[in-house]
Symmetry: D2
């Protein structure tokens, strides 16, 4: 996420929000953020949300996710929120929602449903 | 849905809840409702939710859906809720959640993310 | 699957085909098979395909699946094929394809991408 | 895709392959390609595959996709293949598979099932 200039914008048990500036270098010619960047932000938010319910040294991997792209992402800032839907011993299911913000306006640009797996220790 | 003995349990703009008894004939040997029945109920709830935001004579078809099965469904009653995430002219994105109820207890058994298309008039 | 009158139509390592008659009692008023039935057949084909690569006493559960409904299913017979895409120790990823057959004609009615988990022994 | 240094590696009716070098700037600290990059490559391969079956001036947008991440992507080159599963007037369903190559070795790193919509002319 460092590559994307992303910061944690909020953390609670089972919930994480990540925010990042929408920069030209991550956008297409039409000014919209690449779908891959939106997906990466959502994937990270979901992964971090899963981690909030695990022991400190736990690691998670994304097994799979589905994303619906709802609107093109442009503006000043992208916020990706991840929420745990169900936490299991091995598998955690998370939902994610991404919003593009410009000033006071907020557009829902994508929604994700993801499965995370707790990584076995080395 | 008539086959499943399902009834509308709640309707609002962009939201529908369907309820049905959990019957032995729709269950497996272990007493759990068939996943296909849970999916059918979620699919219907999502389709009806999409219809609440369309003209009266509109019809919708499911393009695709993803379902995470969270827990086995047993008990007295299955409730499937559908919510519109984004309504477009042609495509509507919906989220669905299914709960198995036994007395006052309620278990979240599945979650769906679906894409519906408005059917072109014949 | 017994409820659906389904039979194994082919089994190989990592591959299973299930066939079932398309019966009025499983169809909608328009004569098309319920999406829930198509999904149940695909889910079973994927689960059995995963089992072909496991020890004899293993059991699998569906974690999640995504289905694209490609065409309405009508005709004499539904065939659901499941194929293992990647078999892991805990998780197996499978693809499934469903076809509706009438005489010599075969229509691709749905495609599935699914994640199965090996069930921990009781 | 230019940002990723991607080139078309093969084109046929309903099929496209994209290849790109696996570069450190697109990789994580552990040397594995970011999932967002793999997803972007698969999404592009699926979109281009859909375009091969459309008139020359057509444009497509991704409605949604599901991705299963099968293995970490490292090596010299990433190849993403997109194939049309069903082409409709408005919606096209595509499957995608991504492979990481190092010398003669090829690892299946991800599989996608996607829905594309033909964009209405402005």
């Amino acid at each position: 996420m460092a590559t994307l200039g992303a910061d944690l914008d909020g953390v609670a048990a089972g919930h994480v929000a990540i925010a990042m500036p929408i920069e030209p270098r991550l956008s297409q010619q039409n000014g919209f953020l690449h779908a891959g960047v939106v997906v990466a932000a959502l994937d990270s938010a979901c992964g971090y949300a899963a981690l909030t319910l695990m022991p400190e040294d736990a690691e998670v991997l994304s097994v799979e996710f589905k994303v619906n792209l709802l609107a093109p992402a442009s503006g000043d800032r992208l916020v990706a929120e991840g929420n745990v839907v169900r936490a299991g011993r091995t598998l955690t299911v998370c939902g994610g929602d991404a919003y593009a913000e410009q000033g006071a306006e907020r557009v829902h640009v994508a929604t994700m449903l993801a499965t995370m797996v707790r990584r076995q220790a080395g």
